[in-house]
């Protein structure tokens, strides 16, 4: 078999029987040795965690120190809305308890503290880092820490804003095998960091690029400029957002209509995660992480965008290099 490390146990083979038939024993073996970190346990991340725990990763570490309250319950099926159960526990702790039940073979733990304070050495313990509901600074900070490591750590950002959702993927330099007509091809992809990607001039991106991408950049910048937490906006912010749109479109040398106002209005107002979109994002992200760990299948490069309005789940390549 040529793989280092032990074979799958009988218990694993029995439980994962159906999926082994989909992606093979080798991929399953890699999965069961992989370590995944997630920061920010909202609905989309809860969905993702469910998927990879069922798939059988080796370990999953959750970070989210928020206390459990009404808001934390929204779209998150990992939390039982029973105070006697969650009282005094953080969101991560409660989710951890639920996830353990899904698959006793996966080691689920929590990590306390602010994730932007975790150092490179900490992230070095993982193969996959997923963050959600972070500020632009935190996204860049953690992304750079991952990129600074010698080994490749897959870095993902996932966010659901109302009926829209986005996934960012950074696999640094990624080699994978692709089967075509019986031949196995070695493919290599070079990923930009988040900072590099979002700095790509809008004018250089394809005309049919999802408008959602630009709208999300405007909102992200707005939150940063106003010192808001992600999703902390309402309709009263629309004028401010439109002003920022003007600036950004000017800087990128595109017309303002490039970023539709109606879309911005939706994103500003409708900030709560929409559960069906969480399910879709968690599903796509779960699949991407399984691909990255197993080295099989084309991974998304480097954005996945979904909007209920048009129903399209698009993959966009936003990269400064060709």
């Amino acid at each position: 078999m040529g793989m280092e490390g032990e074979e799958l146990t009988e218990q694993e083979t029995a439980l994962y029987d159906r999926q082994i038939r989909v992606w093979g024993a080798d991929a399953q073996r890699r999965l069961s040795k992989s370590h995944v970190f997630v920061g920010g346990m909202k609905g989309a991340v809860a969905e993702f965690c469910k998927n990879i725990v069922l798939a059988g990763v080796g370990s999953l570490t959750l970070a989210d120190d928020r206390p459990v309250n009404e808001e934390a319950l929204w779209a998150n099926f990992l939390i039982t809305p029973d105070e006697s159960v969650y009282a005094g526990k953080s969101v991560a702790e409660v989710c951890c308890d639920s996830l353990k039940e899904f698959n006793p073979m996966v080691h689920v733990t929590i990590e306390k503290g602010n994730i932007s304070s975790f150092d490179e050495e900490y992230f070095n313990k993982f193969d996959i880092i997923v963050i959600s509901c972070c500020s632009l600074e935190t996204k860049n900070l953690i992304n750079e820490k991952c990129r600074g490591l010698l080994k490749r750590v897959g870095f993902y950002i996932v966010d659901c804003k109302g009926s829209c959702g986005e996934i960012f993927v950074d696999l640094k330099t990624y080699t994978y095998s692709k089967k075509t007509e019986g031949e196995t091809l070695e493919c290599q992809l070079r990923y930009p960091s988040y900072e590099e990607a979002v700095a790509v001039p809008w004018k250089r991106l394809p005309r049919r690029m999802s408008k959602l991408y630009f709208a999300l950049r405007v909102i992200e910048k707005f939150e940063q400029a106003e010192g808001r937490n992600p999703g902390e906006t309402s309709e009263v912010d629309l004028p401010g957002v439109l002003k920022l749109r003007k600036e950004l479109c000017g800087a990128h040398d595109v017309a303002e209509s490039f970023v539709p106002e109606s879309l911005l209005a939706r994103l500003v107002t409708d900030t709560r995660e929409f559960p069906p979109v969480c399910a879709i994002l968690g599903g796509i992200l779960g699949q991407e992480v399984i691909k990255a760990i197993s080295g099989k299948g084309d991974p998304v490069k480097n954005f996945f965008l979904f909007d209920v309005m048009d129903g399209k789940g698009k993959v966009e390549d936003v990269s400064p290099f060709k």
């Binding site: 159906r18 024993a25 069906p276």
Partner: protein
């Protein structure tokens, strides 16, 4: 469209879910989170161990319990204040009649078989309740919306043979080559070379009615002093000979079926040949160990062309040789092998085993090339696809509840991006005016009225083709046949006698120009069939001895070269996926049949395409358009 206002609009609605399996668990969770407060769920199944890796509402301690009930309890833990009504029952039960359906605002299917899907489709049409259909296989999935009069119904396009097979078809009554492939790959191959501890239906069945399971375990184990050739022949005789003899003892099974023929090595290989004499560039030792293509029974036996259809004797030799090679050259793999279509020896073994079984059951044999294609396309369910599909179902359900007709979409979940999309929406098709289910167009049946009995018509057309559960057949005002438990004995006697009558010999003869009315009271579904007498039928192409037509047949394949499955994400767009494959075995057979679809903005984007593989779009205007990276 999904502001909090609309989410709260979901509160007054009543939803019926059919199926609490792979899609069902995900769907129930997402519905509950999305604000649905009155959900009814039907599923006749109980929980099995192999469900646990993706049906996340179930735990080991639930094995054996009702899926619908356990799913309800699990969801109520995180959404305690909603109402979920479970039914541990068959969706075809009489209690689920049109009145039952009428209480719902929308019906959501997460089913695993064609029969139940058709049944639910008819009830939704009769009750005028919108239906949202879904299916997944592996990484592929789709969601469709069926609203009477607005979009096509589930049966507007004729469905090809169901793609998931009940276990008993595989283990006992194969009628197609694909059944033999599934048996060879999923049961025999897995039993011999896979994990011994895995559940395998071969265990149960191969001992027949008499054998205990202990006895069966022994049969597949190599005996202490047994040489490898003896071992192979013993397995061969057991699965193709003894097991068939045992199966034949069950007379009931073979009443309406062709009896299979037991096959033993001694019958196929004359004595001097029963020890295969490898010739040519043999032995495998010259090849590097670990290279999957190097160990091959075909090369040992000098069989060169994978397109050739081997004789029973050749298949037997390949079977025994491949068996031997596994135990001599691939010993380290045994116990954890999973079929891989790129593993030459595995493909050879599965081809030979499937062909020997096919031969036994009177099914045409196939070449290694064809067998590989079929075996490579057997796809199992993946949790992530089910989660995505469930999300898409809820999105469509919300549109349906708001009568947002313009925005109804059929959405495909793809494995590889097509036009940059992993989730691809297309506008739903309009109802097919010639659909015998949702429009009232009559069907045409060509049949030999002087030879065919009413019973054949009931079995081959009314049940098999029209999917009726409890049919009534009328000729004008004459009642010819009726099914049901509540009939008088004397009526049953009359109907039973009628089944044996030839069509033209009824007091009012059924001949060319007659019109039969076939009705299913439970489905509230009626259709009219015009009869046309025809003398002869092609035994191969028209094995039923009758031909039903009248609703638009799918156009014939224009290009039947979808290759060996690498492009399945794309070709599959044309054919609805029939199952959330769950524990039935799902086989994806690429069928390049394009459906006519309205399309939104797909065409205009194509010139910007940069796909590096073949692309087949779900669009009649772009039939089988191929694109290559320049």
């Amino acid at each position: 469209m999904v502001s909090q206002k609309e989410v709260s609009a979901m509160k007054g609605t009543k939803v019926l879910m059919v199926g609490a399996g792979g899609i069902g668990c995900e769907l129930l969770k997402t519905l509950a989170l999305s604000g649905f407060e009155d959900i009814h769920i039907i599923d006749m199944d109980t929980i099995e161990v192999s469900n646990l890796n993706r049906q996340f509402l179930f735990r080991k301690s639930h094995v054996g319990q009702s899926k619908a009930k356990v799913a309800r309890d699990a969801v109520l833990r995180f959404k305690p204040n909603i109402s979920i009504t479970p039914y541990h029952a068959n969706v075809k039960d009489n209690t689920f009649d049109v009145d039952f359906y009428k209480q719902f605002n929308v019906v959501l299917n997460g089913l695993d078989n064609l029969d139940a899907r058709r049944h639910v489709n008819r009830l939704c049409l009769a009750a005028d309740v919108p239906l949202i259909e879904s299916g997944t296989t592996g990484f592929l999935g789709q969601v469709t919306v069926h609203v009477k009069g607005k979009t096509e119904c589930y049966e507007c396009q004729p469905k090809t043979a169901p793609k998931s097979y009940p276990v008993c078809t595989i283990t006992s009554t194969p009628s197609k080559f694909v059944h033999c492939i599934v048996w060879a790959k999923e049961l025999l191959f897995a039993k011999l070379y896979g994990d011994k501890n895995q559940d395998n239906d071969l265990n149960v069945r191969s001992g027949g009615a008499s054998g205990s399971s202990d006895h069966v375990e022994d049969v597949f184990e190599r005996k202490a002093d047994e040489d490898i050739e003896q071992y192979g022949r013993r397995i061969y005789d057991h699965v193709f000979g003894y097991n068939i003899e045992i199966a034949l003892e069950n007379k009931e099974t073979w009443k309406n079926r062709t009896r299979p023929r037991p096959i033993y090595v001694r019958d196929v290989l004359p004595d001097q040949l029963s020890q295969p004499q490898p010739n040519g560039h043999v032995d495998g030792s010259e090849c590097a160990v670990g290279d999957l293509s190097s160990v091959s029974a075909m090369s040992s036996l000098s069989l060169k062309n994978p397109q050739d259809i081997w004789s029973l004797m050749e298949n037997t030799k390949v079977f025994l040789e491949a068996f031997k090679l596994f135990f001599t050259k691939r010993q380290e793999d045994i116990g954890n092998l999973v079929f891989d279509k790129d593993d030459q020896l595995a493909v050879e073994f599965v081809t030979a085993a499937a062909n020997i079984r096919a031969s036994s059951f009177g099914i045409p044999l196939h070449s290694l090339f064809e067998a590989k294609g079929i075996a490579g396309n057997i796809i199992h369910a993946v949790a992530t696809t089910n989660a995505i599909i469930a999300g898409l179902i809820v999105i469509e359900a919300m549109k349906v509840l708001q009568n947002d007709e313009k925005n109804y979409r059929t959405t495909y979940c793809l494995e590889h991006p097509t036009q940059n999309m992993l989730l691809m929406p297309v506008e739903p098709s309009e109802p097919n005016k010639a659909c015998y289910v949702c429009s009232e167009s009559p069907l045409l049946l060509e049949i030999n009225t002087n030879r065919t009995k009413l019973g054949d018509f009931v079995e081959k057309i009314v049940k098999a083709k029209l999917g009726m559960n409890l049919p009534i057949i009328m000729h004008g005002s004459v009642l010819l046949y009726e099914a049901g438990d509540d009939l008088d004995d004397d009526m049953v006697a009359i109907y039973t006698a009628n089944l044996e009558k030839v069509l033209s010999q009824f007091p009012t003869p059924i001949t060319s120009g007659s019109m039969l009315t076939v009705e299913d009271m439970q489905q509230e579904f009626t259709c009219k069939i015009n009869i046309k007498h025809r003398e002869e039928f092609d035994e191969e192409k028209e094995p039923d001895g009758m031909v039903l037509s009248g609703w638009t047949q799918a156009p014939p394949p224009k290009e039947s070269n979808p290759s060996n499955g690498e492009n399945k994400a794309n070709t599959s767009l044309s054919e609805p996926l029939n199952a959330d494959s769950d524990d039935e075995v799902e086989v994806y057979v690429p069928e390049p049949v394009a459906k006519k679809r309205k399309h939104s903005d797909i065409t205009k984007e194509t010139e910007e395409e940069e796909e590096d593989e073949l692309v087949v779009l779900p669009d009649a205007n772009l039939d089988f358009k191929k694109k290559k990276l320049v």
